[in-house]
Amino acid sequence: MNHVVAAGAAGSCHIFSGCGFPSPSIEDFYFTPLFKVGPVAFGKPGLLLLLSTLIVVAFFFAAFRRPQLVPRGAQNLGEMGVLFVRDQILRPQLGKSGDKWLPFLVSLFFFIWVNNIMGIIPILYFPAMSKYGYPVALAGMVWLIYMGLGIKKQGVGGYFRTLAIPSGSPWWILPLLIPIEIFSNVFVRPFTLSVRLFANMLAGHVLLLVFSLATWYLLTFSIGLLFSATSFIVLILVTALEVLVQALQAFIFTILTATYISGAYEAAH
């Protein structure tokens, strides 16, 4: 919010005062770096990522430091989280023998969720996943995992046969189906996985920006006050929608990861 904060700090950019609506743009997603550690510059998104890592690690460390048989306090919440991931995400896709993927999926789910939640927490107010590089890193990691695992378990030819030929397809459609399936499973999957998370967070952040900027911009001692109040109410409703979307996107990313990993173990049925 660099240029917009400057306009607001000037104090006079309201409607009827000559300046146009300071609409949110892609510039709102670029932050000047705060400090550099060697060649790596840390700005707000990078610091938010580090903060969310600390939060997730600290929470689960505190939850399972001294586990009791009857859980109470943080352990209760931690168990609820882990059991949610295990029963809703892991068991339907990977079965009981896939429990060794539980730490990875729990970390992935809570990392993405805490990062998304930062989009509606005051002062922070930026979902780090709305910078395209971060979902790309996550999706690239998932891609390496399921491609590497599939090639290791089924061999190169076997895994590509699993990817390219859905079970029960007639022989005469294979020349058309194989290139489409290979392209879809090897190249399009990581792309849509990353873009789904990125675009959801981008669109949500832009919506919040539009309505908060509108609330400020319309705040004049005229009919604008009524519009400003309406815009504020809509801002609250959009924030509620964002709560749903943030949790949903973390859930979808994790469950698709589990699906792709299960596809690497055996042919999808």
């Binding site: 949110p24 892609i26 849509t192 873009v195 789904r196 675009a199 981008l202 669109a203 949903l248 979808i252």
Partner: protein
């Protein structure tokens, strides 16, 4: 191209919209007033409008079928609701790619 230029000169004079168009070109997100892009219609907004047709139909189908199936068999509500959320997110992602593309493809 010449006809386009004459037409827009006419529009400028006729409606006095010179300042408004300049303001639009100056405040358009992310571009430097590319003349062909934003003169008549905001292509970014049009992109999203077209991109939202398919997922609109798709999401309506998903939720409608879910409601139907829960009405037929209420015991399956938990399973069906989980699948509904997965289908919703996958369909919604196409509409959201449509809203994100004008930001980075100019």
């Amino acid at each position: 191209m010449q006809h386009l230029v004459h037409l827009h000169h006419l529009l400028y004079v006729a409606s006095g919209a010179r300042h408004a168009l300049a303001a639009v070109a100056a405040s358009t997100p992310g571009t430097v007033g590319n003349p062909i892009y934003y003169h008549i219609v905001n292509l970014g907004a049009l992109t999203y409008g077209l991109a939202a047709i398919g997922p609109g139909v798709g999401i309506g189908l998903i939720f409608g079928r879910t409601i139907e199936s829960i009405a037929r068999q209420p015991e399956a509500a938990g399973r069906v609701t989980g699948l509904m959320w997965i289908g919703f997110a996958l369909t919604e992602s196409l509409a959201l790619i449509g809203i994100a593309v004008p930001f980075f493809i100019k």
